[in-house]
Amino acid sequence: MRVVVTGMGVVSPIGTGTDQFWAAAINGISGIQKIRCFDASSQRSQIAGEITGFDPNTFLSAKYIDQTDRFTQLALLATHLALEDAGGLDAYAPQCLAVSIGSGMGGFATFESSAARKFRNQSIPPFTVPRTMANSAAAWIAIKHRLKGVNLTCSTACSSGANAIGMALDLLRAGRADAVIAGGAEACVLPLTMTGFEALHALTTSFNTEPARASRPFAKGRDGFVMSEGAGMLILEKEEGAKQRGAKIYARLAGYGQTCDATHIVMPDMDGQVAAMHAAIRDAGMEPDSIDHINAHATSTPLGDIVETRAIKALFGDRARDIAINATKSMIGHTVGASAAIGSIATIMALHTGTIHPTINLDEADPECDLDYTPNHARQKQPRNALCNAFGFGGNNASIVFTTP
């Protein structure tokens, strides 16, 4: 049974809507700026990828806004755009429409602001819990669009979005849904959350005065990831149903692999990454030789980019150098649980348009990162079978295979 992508919606620091996002991506535009949403002068990392023009009042009522965290609002906008792109899902019974969403932190904007109120002995918003809970985005997507089927949320840190898309593939294959809204959402450009990542030395700190240069996967001098926010949603359907309703088909979601390192809570492990990529390729009924494009996890941390490079070389051997690899995070930073959903949209657009977006800020590569990362300029190349990687705290490794239809 084949599963296809019939709609995409993205809200990112480089654009809202697939057209705007993709135009910026292929032109190598950075969405990283000094933090505006709170006073970041005491943070070690003072830059982020923010959705600066985002106004929930343009598409949500005051009541919805009171009851939703920013990550849910971003998810709702991305879902609206994806459904519009897909031409709606009215052809299906509501009970057969599922939602599968990933988020690493859930409603942490609400959590942080309510905690601050509580510590000042002020009462807290009555919807603090339903706004904070990780499954609130999936629940609100269902409420807003009357989707009465399976409603799942996956929280596997930075791989959440990839796992959510993989779970959607499983649901469709198992016959538990006819169509799934699947993706990820995150909004944790927040003082406490960022301080937590700073404490782990995970965030960049050397580029506070040059934000656009800060997210530099595979480059010499990279010193950590740039916190970012956003949402990406896919409309996934069984091919048969999509064709019956005359939907346009962007790509096929062909395979999914997931492994756990079971070694360390935050340090990546090459073997787990190799196993996840290999599992996804096997799940798609392919061999590694078939893969001609990889949208890498590539967060711009010193260790992570090296380990992913080694993993790709271990799995693909000499062919690794022939694969066009790129890093969406070089432009938008790390959107945590949304990152693989947005990365998936970049992967699908590469298959759909025959253009590989660049990895920016890659003037000089780290000697230990010696593959073809599509440096600085987009490349006209038609990939056929592409891999999108996502690796998260907890030792989670998820890979997805998309192919041309």
Binding site: A62, K63, D66, Q67, Q122, S123, P125, P126
Partner: protein, 91 residues
């Protein structure tokens, strides 16, 4: 503020918080459900009113609120008691 002032301000506040509700249709005797507010909407309204009026609704007492006048009475009562509490604290 006297009772009438508080009532006017509370009604204006509710009209800004509740969609499709005109201030002229709200009175002190308007029950929350008559204004289209369910129990969770009412809790949210009271939370927003705390910030707007600089007051803290005590949970147990606020549970008994049924109409706009209940909010007005509470604000009036606690507005008057505030200076007294302060004096007692200083003593």
């Amino acid at each position: 503020m006297d009772t009438a002032d508080i009532e006017t301000k509370v009604i204006q506040f509710i009209a800004t918080k509740v969609e499709n509700l005109d201030a002229s249709t709200i009175s002190a005797s308007s029950k929350f459900d008559e204004l289209g507010l369910d129990s969770m909407d009412t809790i949210q309204l009271l939370f927003d009113a705390e910030d707007a009026f600089g007051i803290n609704f005590e949970g147990e007492e606020a549970k008994g609120f049924r109409c706009v006048g209940d909010i007005v009475s509470y604000i009036e009562k606690h507005q008057m008691s505030a200076p007294l509490t302060k004096n007692e604290g200083q003593a």
